[in-house]
């Protein structure tokens, strides 16, 4: 029983870091991204390759993964120079597809479709209890970091970018720099989650990092409540919790997964329609499309 519970804590922790990091850009900066599972994957592959195969110390591999993801974040950040709103989403989508294809096809680096197996478990995660402790404290740490960031002068500018980029400029701030910084921080956080995930599961393959996973993470943030600290936590819990609850409920097997997806879809649409701030009540993506001068 404990180990199962701890396992859920591990997954919950990893996903909380993911949703918090996505919320930093989507909920606070107004840049919706569906490349997040790719960034998550970069972190995971970083650990898998540098720690699992090349036997660097875990911390080093973890950091390498984060740096790589940060660089990828910079690459996504660059389109945000020009693109707004839905066009930005499409750009991140393209990036997600490209990253997935890289993981899937460049087999001499990433192991291709077969993935990388046998990543040794680092000592601090050797039991599920330890892993749960590590992951929950990471979730706490990153939630705290995000909380501080979004309440700092830095976060205030991000929030203002979400509200009105022209206003940010009128107040003497360069939105582009802030957007890129936000995206890179978010990418690094996602990669941190990915590295821990890889070390815990001890196996990575591209199918864990698809567009659909990216969309699921985004939906979790929206459903939970974007632009808040509790919202993403709640979203991550739904993402991890709903399948587990349905597992206990015992739906007919032939439809269970479809029913789960339908529940996600309905939740998303209903939340948007009746509670645009998400369950927890954060920021709502209302109309703010001032026509550009």
């Amino acid at each position: 029983m404990e180990a199962y519970f701890y396992h859920l804590v591990v997954l919950g922790g990893v996903y909380i870091v993911l949703t918090q990091s996505l919320d930093l850009i989507s909920g606070h900066t107004g840049l919706m991204s569906i490349a997040h599972s790719a960034l998550f994957g970069i972190g995971a592959y970083g650990v898998a390759i540098f720690y699992g195969q090349m036997h660097y110390p875990f911390i080093v591999a973890w950091l390498i993964g984060m740096v790589l993801a940060g660089m990828a974040g910079l690459m996504v950040g660059l389109p945000s120079l020009r693109l707004r709103g839905d066009y930005f989403v499409i750009a991140t989508f393209a990036l997600q597809v490209l990253c997935f294809n890289f993981m899937n096809n460049v087999s001499n680096v990433t192991g291709g479709t077969l993935g990388i197996t046998g990543i040794p478990t680092p000592w601090f995660m050797s039991t599920t209890a330890r892993a749960a402790l590590v992951c929950s404290s990471l979730a706490l740490l990153f939630s705290f970091i995000k909380w501080v960031l979004t309440r700092s002068p830095f976060g205030r500018v991000l929030n203002c970018i979400r509200e009105d980029e022209d206003l940010v400029m009128a107040l003497g701030r360069n939105p582009v720099g802030f957007k890129i910084a936000a995206f890179m921080i978010s990418a690094v956080m996602a990669a941190a989650a990915g590295g821990i995930y890889a070390a815990y599961v001890s196996f990575v393959d591209p199918t864990t990092f698809t567009v659909m996973d990216s969309i699921a993470i985004l939906c979790a943030v929206i459903i939970g409540g974007s632009g808040s600290t509790a919202g993403p936590v709640f979203g991550a819990l739904i993402l991890i919790g709903l399948p587990e609850i349905l597992r206990f409920v015992g739906l007919p097997y032939s439809v269970a997964s479809n029913v789960r997806q339908i529940i996600y879809g309905m939740l998303l649409v209903l939340i948007l329609m009746f509670r645009p701030g998400g369950v927890v009540g954060g920021f709502s993506f209302d109309i703010r499309e001032h026509t550009r001068l």
Binding site: A3, L114, S202, D205, T208, A230, S257, N258
Partner: protein, 385 residues
């Protein structure tokens, strides 16, 4: 804002209640297993939902059939706890943990998707739980661990046998490989290619296509214009239909050899129709004899269809596990089951003749079949020799 803090709290409470319920379940189960020694609880982690469900539900049916048959005989009661993996590694670990840690089950059947089996394997090793897959064919599983078994041949075996067969019997020297760009497709491609080139053949073209692709004309056009004796296809049912139909449309004019059992899928036979005729394919040799026939009858009686893919394998797994328990005085212990399985030689199961090698891989003869007039016909049974 304040009102909303209630909701997450409620959510947590729901989770706790559910967790509490399952805890009680667990206690009941353990009490019961103490009361009657002769009840065996076996776990199963299968993709019961999602894209891979078509491969997960038949093993569930087969295993359930075996459990009920054995239970009816009297001495032993078999219960199987089925858990869903949805073919995702993390979910698979969740499911496995639930069985191994919550219910303390020593033997688990699963998983179907190779990626899930590979993800679960280290956990199974650490928790000392025997994991027997009815369907994972990735060559990487061979080295996944001491407690990891499978009753379906590795892609490595299938590729080797198919390569030898095509090289020696069909006289192929130059081939193209058309494969689905996922773990199964690439694993099969590699095993075929390694054997074929070591025999002296040449793989001229390797064309991949992404899963759920609906247009393979580009790949097939390239193959049509290449100088090859034949095409090896590694595909799933949906794209097998595409390959057959689009190859016919484009008049590719090369013989196709399918290194997959997907060809036998009812949807392929129906949708591809005449386009399927002449397709030669390889799959683990179906069992002959009384037991296999009885299984097919019982299965059809109970579920209304002929045994689908991997149902027989699951049926055999349950029987093997029960045999191991019987050899251990009716108790299920992971180490004992593991040791027993390594000694199994030429067990006549309903999925074929089963022996395990030192990796826990099954060694089975394979069958070469051909589709004629929309129906499969056995060409021959081939082994490694």
């Amino acid at each position: 804002m304040r009102r909303c803090a209630v909701l997450p709290a409620l959510f947590l409470i729901v989770i706790m209640v559910i967790a509490g319920c399952s805890n009680q379940q667990e206690q009941k189960k353990s009490e019961r297993s103490k009361a009657t020694v002769k009840e065996l609880l076996i776990g199963a982690v299968l993709p019961l939902t999602g894209d891979a469900a078509p491969w997960g539900i038949p093993p569930k049916k087969g295993a359930q059939l075996a459990a009920d048959e054995i239970s009816q005989k009297g001495n032993l009661k078999i219960k199987i706890d089925f858990q869903d993996t949805t073919c995702q590694p993390a979910r698979g670990i969740s499911a496995f943990r639930q069985l191994a840690d919550v219910y303390k089950i020593p033997v688990v059947m699963g998983a179907v998707c190779s990626s899930v089996t590979l993800a679960i394997a280290p956990v199974a090793e650490k928790e000392r739980v025997v994991l027997i897959s009815p369907a994972s064919t990735s060559p990487k599983i061979s080295s996944a661990g001491d407690y990891i078994f499978r009753v379906v041949p590795s892609d490595a075996l299938r590729g080797r046998i198919f390569a030898r067969y095509l090289f020696k019997k069909k006289g192929l020297r130059k081939v193209a490989i058309l494969y689905i760009n996922n773990e199964g497709g690439v694993g099969n491609r590699d095993s075929f290619k390694n054997e074929f080139t070591s025999l002296g053949g040449k793989v001229v073209l390797e064309e991949a296509y992404p899963p759920q692709s609906r247009d393979l004309r580009a790949q097939l056009t390239k193959i049509k214009n290449s100088n090859v004796d034949g095409v090896i296809a590694v595909s799933y049912p949906d794209d097998t239909i595409l390959i057959m139909k689009q190859a016919a449309e484009l008049k590719v004019g090369k013989p196709f050899f399918y290194q997959t059992e997907a060809v036998e899928d009812p949807s392929v036979l129906k949708q591809a129709g005449a386009a399927a005729n002449g397709a030669i394919y390889i799959l683990p040799a179906p069992a002959e004899g009384e037991a296999a026939r009885a299984f097919a009858q019982a299965y059809e009686k109970r579920y209304g269809t002929k045994p689908e893919l991997f149902a027989a394998e699951a049926y055999d797994i349950i029987h093997l596990v029960v045999k191991a328990a019987e050899a251990n005085g009716g108790r299920l212990e992971a180490e004992k089951v593991r040791d027993y399985l390594y000694t199994v030689k030429s067990y006549h199961g309903v999925s074929g003749i089963i022996s395990f090698d030192s990796n826990g891989d099954v060694i089975k003869p394979m069958a070469i079949k051909i589709i004629e007039n929309g129906k499969p016909r056995l060409l021959e049974i081939v082994g490694l020799e």
